[in-house]
Symmetry: C2
Subunit: 241 residues, 2 copies
Amino acid sequence: MSPGLLIGVGVGPGDPELVTVKAIRAIENADVVAHFAKAGNGSNARASAQRYLRPGVRELSLLYPVTTEYPTTDPAYRAAVERFFDDCALAIEAHLQAGRTVAVLSEGDPLFFGSYMHVHVRLMNRFTVEVIPGVTAMSGCWSAAGLPIAQGDDVLTVLPGTLEQSELVRRLRQNEPTVLMKIGRNLPKIRRALLETDRLDSAIYVERGTMHNERLLPLAKKLDDLAPYFAIVLVANRWWQ
Amino acid sequence: MSPGLLIGVGVGPGDPELVTVKAIRAIENADVVAHFAKAGNGSNARASAQRYLRPGVRELSLLYPVTTEYPTTDPAYRAAVERFFDDCALAIEAHLQAGRTVAVLSEGDPLFFGSYMHVHVRLMNRFTVEVIPGVTAMSGCWSAAGLPIAQGDDVLTVLPGTLEQSELVRRLRQNEPTVLMKIGRNLPKIRRALLETDRLDSAIYVERGTMHNERLLPLAKKLDDLAPYFAIVLVANRWWQ
């Protein structure tokens, strides 16, 4: 048996039409299509790629462990996550050892804050690996907003909303185009940091960008603090509309 | 006559297979396909999209003015560039007034350091405008390198190589994942900033990422200072290979 091929496949921000020709070919030709999901939820990446799956293709569902019992700063949380990715790599390795091509679907771009990278680094030294880039969620969001995010000599910063408020403030004070990711329960803190730096009025909130149920509004007009983890806040120096 | 439709179409980092289904449909259905290029050079965006162009489709070539007579800090340079984008918008507007759909091809993603945004902001308040996001050049480059660029609570910074060396040093000292764009003649300065911050050994140089003649190597092993403007340098905290 010849060892198989691992492909990290970026499937874009959500709209199934924002998948690339190369990704579609990889999905169509794969022996096994793997995808990450929370137990009980469908995989977002699979939903974007569903129409391109070969009927009856073998699928491998990689279900995140329930880790809500630990705060994310607890080493036990980190250990549980590492064990999960070890298990994912083992499950994929079994297919690679059998000579199969495994396409791991990744929302957005595989190597940009994607779960795929954790199996990539565990397998890349022993198997042939290929990565197909995808349209990121943030590109999907600023395109949906029609918002030119960066131009000329701009510096663009991508901040996780998980940072401390003081750190968010320090970054936002630079008054540069900024993308905030990982919103969810961090929204009140993000809002306070934007207020403190006088940038709330140029912040745009986007939920499920490019999907059929996309929601997009100035953050200042969003009156509640409910937000999915994958929502995005865009802060541009100029707001063209 | 009903006014037309302007579509900014991201065609990705260079590999024609990294164009999305949505972009292909827009290119196939457009009455006019517009693209930016330097006089004498072909348009890179057009090269990525060429196989999707309808035979005989009307094309509009937008040729950057020769601005090398001014330093880029000279107001005359800025004025020449603004005049150019005014002229581009006028040329596109004529087609929109005639009820045509105009697809403006953009390398990478249209609203991320793309020329398209300059016609977008000039026309968006008077015409229906749509933006189709694309795979960015930087995604193409880190995927080609197999380099996980950002994960977890990382902050990602995108820096134009045009910044002063002291400013590059200040940013690189944060020791966070960094993408350097607009390399060209800025390479020696970028190299000095990386040396000064002790990050040269984790810098990867990518030229024409995802294209058939892609070139990718550790920056420390690149012995000359010749680089195209569109080369990219990736600096990750971890280099997995």
